[in-house]
Amino acid sequence: MLYRENGQFKTTYRADQQIFPIAQDRYLILALVAFAFLVVPFAASEYLFRAILIPFLILSLAAIGLNILVGYCGQISLGTGGFMAVGAYMAYNFLVRIEGMPLVPAILLGGLCATVVGVLFGIPSLRIKGMYLAVATLAAQFFTDWAFLRVKWFTNDSSSGSVSVSGLSMLGWTIDTPTEKYLFCLGFVVVFALLAKNLVRSHIGREWMAIRDMDVAASVIGIRPVYAKLTAFAVSSFIVGVAGALWGFVYLGSWEPAAFSIDRSFQLLFMVIIGGLGSIMGSFFGAAFIVILPILLDQLPGWLGIPLDTALTAHLTFMIFGALIVFFLIVEPHGLARLWTVGKEKLRLWPFPH
């Protein structure tokens, strides 16, 4: 009743091609962004910011990056943690080694370094596919792990191999309180989500999807696989690198290579699969599912007043979380984003379904 597009006529191509062609969607998303920018900073507690919202935003960004590669271009990657590490460590080096380096360019340059590494490790994708490619990108993970553990230059000769960043500021704005950190991350996420959404709707995005669906057919109709695959690797690892830099700078403040271990790569891959392959919205759903749910499950016994042993709670969290992943994948193999679309379809017919 409320959610239907009757009477919304598109009179120009522009109007027809916008991101959200249905007015209600548009307003909902705008309202959501406005809520995130204007209401959340005043309403949320410090814990919510630091332990839930900031990691959620940063990992959403990383998931968007990975989704471009896996979901849109069909190239499985297990090197995401490695690319995040490149972004974080290189941004750190730019910030520490170059006097007067501003924060945002340092983060973007970190992303750029991740792009270079991503393209380098993307080259094998021109010859190998599927599981074999996954194993090849695994090499990226192990290589970066090794490099940041062993090559002292990257960690600015820190004796313990752990590096830290503090006193973030941008154009005279000191990013200090959790609210400011949240807004800083939110800014990045909104800009990059918009860029990514537009990119996947553009000719480049269509090339990626053509390659994903059938690369032989795509090359027959004139798409260059080299170009399409490498741009996907480049864009993906750039976004992932920026997310890595934010993870180190804003969320952890001090980190070691273990923060970007193989576990991180798997975590992001699960986010993309559970959230929905080939969907920007899905990246957010996936990140919310993987980041927030375990924390909720972990605290649930406490809220309900059930005195449970810490170890037992931790084990239960693992079990329930695992069961939920299996449940969602069986109920909806296309991820939470698909559930969202189905929900919208239903809503259009409501209250008179045929």
């Binding site: 814990y47 919510l48 313990s160 980190w255 810490t310 931790a314």
Partner: protein, 442 residues
């Protein structure tokens, strides 16, 4: 299809509810809240569990004795699984509940929290772990590596070996291999060992072992080839017992293996049993102390009443004692703060920080607490957040740990400049400056 939308809306609802319920509830008046960061699961659980049990048992014991001058202790455990990001989440969660002193029990988490503590005004106690340069209280106002750092540990191991060889000059040309956990924890002692290696001319071989440390075949192959005179073991959790098993398989004499205090507890040698006989590790002040007064008291006051946290027969083991002492240091900090800011009051993080900085546990106080024979007196100051760097060594005889050396003290002449240089580097990187002497009064 209906099921799916229900599932979806349930998930959304749960997330929304969580956000609402997640707002922190502050501790009630007359209750001092202690956050307890533990790991009872994961690869490091065998060592994390006894520590956590000791930590919590002491809190219970103090409560059974009437609290800190009448202030009851409340606490909450949070599982970090030794992962930095989970540790940060735990810290944020418990901070909101009125945490006044945090003990992260992980060097990685310590590094992350070192950046956050000054802003939140919560002191960090990292007793026997964490950043070695935080000894410099003028640079690190909120960090308290009480009783020992990895640099003091490494220094004492070298002193012990020199004594065994008959003098520091005998170390020349010797080969020492450091088998370490490839993380900030394992890398931290390297700087101090390198300094000593330059001074005495022994050769230091670095052999990193990747997390979690189960796979050490290649490391021990290298040891078999290079035949070092001594092996230092800087492991944690399952890595320790794996190293000892590999040593047995390689035939490397256990008598020449020396562990740090995190590699010298019952869970590390239990699986290897008699084969680990002769393996020596640092004992950070205390070893296994089942007969000490405090352990007997805890058995009586806590375990006999069915309130005990872990198995009764583990009370008094090495890591249990370490948790117990860590807990005691935190509570003594609060007690000391109460002496200045009002007895029987709930202390804030800033007040506890002052208490920890002005700690003065002499033998009399330790005896009264029941820690006679367990540890040596500790006294901290504005410039010295370490308090005491005494340690001794204990050797596994196949069934239990026995002390096998005198007390040693880390050589300040060597470590002080190292600490200062490292702290200066940290301050320069952060564009911070040292505390003024006037700040020490606050």
């Amino acid at each position: 299809m209906k099921l799916k939308s229900i599932a979806l809306s349930a998930a959304v609802l749960a997330a929304g509810l969580g956000a609402l319920v997640g707002t922190p509830a502050f501790a009630q008046a007359k209750e001092q809240f202690f956050p307890v960061l533990v790991y009872r699961t994961g690869a490091y659980a065998p060592n994390g569990v006894p520590f956590a049990n000791g930590y919590v048992d002491y809190l219970k014991y103090v409560n059974a004795k009437g609290g800190i001058n009448g202030v009851k202790i409340t606490y909450e455990e949070c599982e970090t699984a030794y992962a930095t990001d989970k540790g940060v989440e735990c810290y944020e969660r418990l901070k909101g509940k009125g945490a006044t002193v945090v003990q992260p029990l992980s060097t990685g988490i310590t590094f992350a929290l070192t950046e956050k503590a000054p802003g939140d005004k919560i002191p960090l106690i990292t007793s026997g772990y964490g950043r070695a340069d935080t000894v410099d209280g003028l640079a690190f106002k909120w960090n308290f590596p009480l009783l020992g750092t990895y640099w003091t540990g490494a220094d004492i191991l070298i002193q012990h070996i020199a004594k065994k060889e008959g003098g520091f000059d005998k170390l020349k040309g010797k080969k020492i291999s450091l088998v370490y956990h490839d993380s900030p924890y394992g890398k931290e002692p390297i700087a101090a060992l390198q300094e000593r290696s330059k001074m005495h001319g022994f050769e230091l071989n670095l052999l990193p072992v990747a997390h979690p440390g189960v796979e050490q075949k290649s490391t021990w192959l290298q040891i078999r080839q290079s035949r070092p005179d001594y092996v230092f073991l800087w492991g944690w959790g399952v890595m320790n017992s794996a190293a000892l098993k590999e040593a047995v398989a390689t035939g490397y004499p256990r008598e020449k293996m020396y562990g740090v205090w995190w590699s010298g507890a019952e869970p590390d040698v239990k699986d290897v049993g008699a084969n680990a006989k002769g393996y020596t590790a640092l004992a950070m002040q205390h070893g296994a102390e089942p007969n000490s007064k405090i352990v007997q008291d805890i058995l009586k006051e806590v375990h006999a009443k069915g309130q005990g946290t872990g198995p009764k027969d583990e009370v008094g083991q090495v890591l249990y004692m370490r948790g117990l002492i860590a807990s005691m240091m935190g509570i003594e900090g609060v007690k000391r703060a109460q002496e200045r800011f009002g007895k029987g009051k709930v202390m804030t993080g800033e007040q506890v920080r002052w208490g920890l900085e002005n700690l003065n546990l002499d033998q009399k106080k330790l005896d009264a607490l029941g820690f006679a024979g367990v540890m040596r007196p500790v006294s901290t100051s504005c410039a010295d957040h370490l308090g005491s760097s005494w340690a001794r060594l204990h050797t596994w005889d196949g069934a239990k740990w026995n002390f096998s050396s005198d007390w040693y003290q880390a050589d300040d002449a060597i470590l002080k400049p190292l600490v200062k240089a490292s702290a200066d580097k940290y301050l320069a990187e952060k564009k911070l400056s040292r505390r003024e002497p006037a700040d020490c009064q606050s």
